[in-house]
């Protein structure tokens, strides 16, 4: 019993040590930023049939998350640069509040994008569903090439899904080209990175990508 307990103690110490080392590296070095840059694909800006802005999150009161805003702004910028005639905005609601796609569409209109150039979908709940629903949404327009806007860590999972749906995908990361320099922002970046890696792993195991 004592041997088992001692082994358990040693294992816990090792896990604790690894945890502290990972925490310190994540908080005090730019490792997460470097990994994110390594994972992210470079922006491939070319005239396309549509711009697709993937959903982020929205609060029940209708406030877009920072990531959702970044993606929306990037999509609007691409449209205003004349890279595609259609802007597809995605995202449902949280707790019965306004939908993310509608809030984003309102922002796009404020930037002068005509309503008939905006398509929205509020029903897709996962990246996989987004690919399927965007395919159905763009089918009547015979869109083949899309500029896919999402954060860099999400692209390795999102791009193959849209390629499977039949699109030629041009990746456009929404991340700002600024290295986070505070421990809190570095930890937040590590969290997003870990989440995206796990999501990618799950999609691979499930055979979605």
């Amino acid at each position: 019993m004592d041997t088992i307990r001692r082994r358990g103690d040693r294992a816990c110490r090792l896990i604790g040590l690894v945890g502290i080392v990972v925490f310190l590296i994540s908080a005090f070095t730019p490792l997460a930023y470097r990994l994110n840059q390594w994972m992210a694909e470079p922006a491939r800006l070319a005239p396309s049939d549509a711009i697709v802005v993937l959903g982020g999150t929205i609060s029940p009161s209708g406030l877009l998350s920072l990531e959702s805003l970044r993606r929306t702004n990037r999509g609007i910028e691409l449209y205003l640069r004349g890279l595609a005639p259609v802007l597809v905005l995605l995202g449902g609601s949280t707790g019965g509040g306004p939908t993310e796609a509608e809030v984003r569409a309102a922002q796009a209109k404020l930037h002068g994008i005509p309503a008939d150039a905006i398509l929205t979908d509020t029903h897709a709940r996962t990246t996989r569903e987004e690919a399927v629903r965007v395919k159905a949404l763009l089918e009547p327009r015979r869109a083949r090439t899309v500029l896919l806007v999402t954060n860099g860590g999400h692209l390795p999972r999102a791009r193959p899904l849209f390629e499977r749906a039949g699109f030629e995908v041009r990746s456009v990361p929404s991340d700002p080209p600024i290295e986070p320099d505070t421990p809190e922002s570095r930890l937040a970046e590590t969290r997003v990175l870990v989440k995206e890696m796990l999501g990618w792993l799950y999609y691979r195991i499930a055979g979605y990508i």
Partner: protein
């Protein structure tokens, strides 16, 4: 700059704590190594609870999705509160283990 300030401040308060412990409270320096070991053990237990909590919540989300067809967002598992709850669970469990070992 902020990171350097935080690291320097944490270093400073650690040195201060060592000084208080060694000089004012008369704690032995040799005991510090054992204390660090205990601290690592406790953090290890907290991390184990965190991993178990997160894995269990993901499995429950996937099970509910597949068995009932109801969509439950996996983002329910992505909440910083898990860290606090795991800390409470882990520290309580570690204290329990230690009291059993001593008793």
């Amino acid at each position: 700059m902020e990171a350097t300030f935080i690291a320097a401040l944490a270093g400073l308060t650690s040195i201060g704590a060592y000084y208080v412990g060694a000089r004012a409270l008369g704690l032995s320096s040799a005991g510090l190594a054992a204390a660090v070991g205990t601290m690592l053990e406790s953090i290890g237990v907290v991390l184990i609870f965190l991993a178990v909590n997160l894995m269990t919540s993901v499995l429950i989300v996937l099970a509910v999705r597949s068995s009932t067809g109801t969509f439950v967002s996996a983002y329910a598992t992505d909440d910083v509160v898990w860290l606090g709850l795991s800390m409470i669970q882990g520290l309580a469990f570690q204290a329990w283990r230690k009291s059993a070992a001593e008793g």
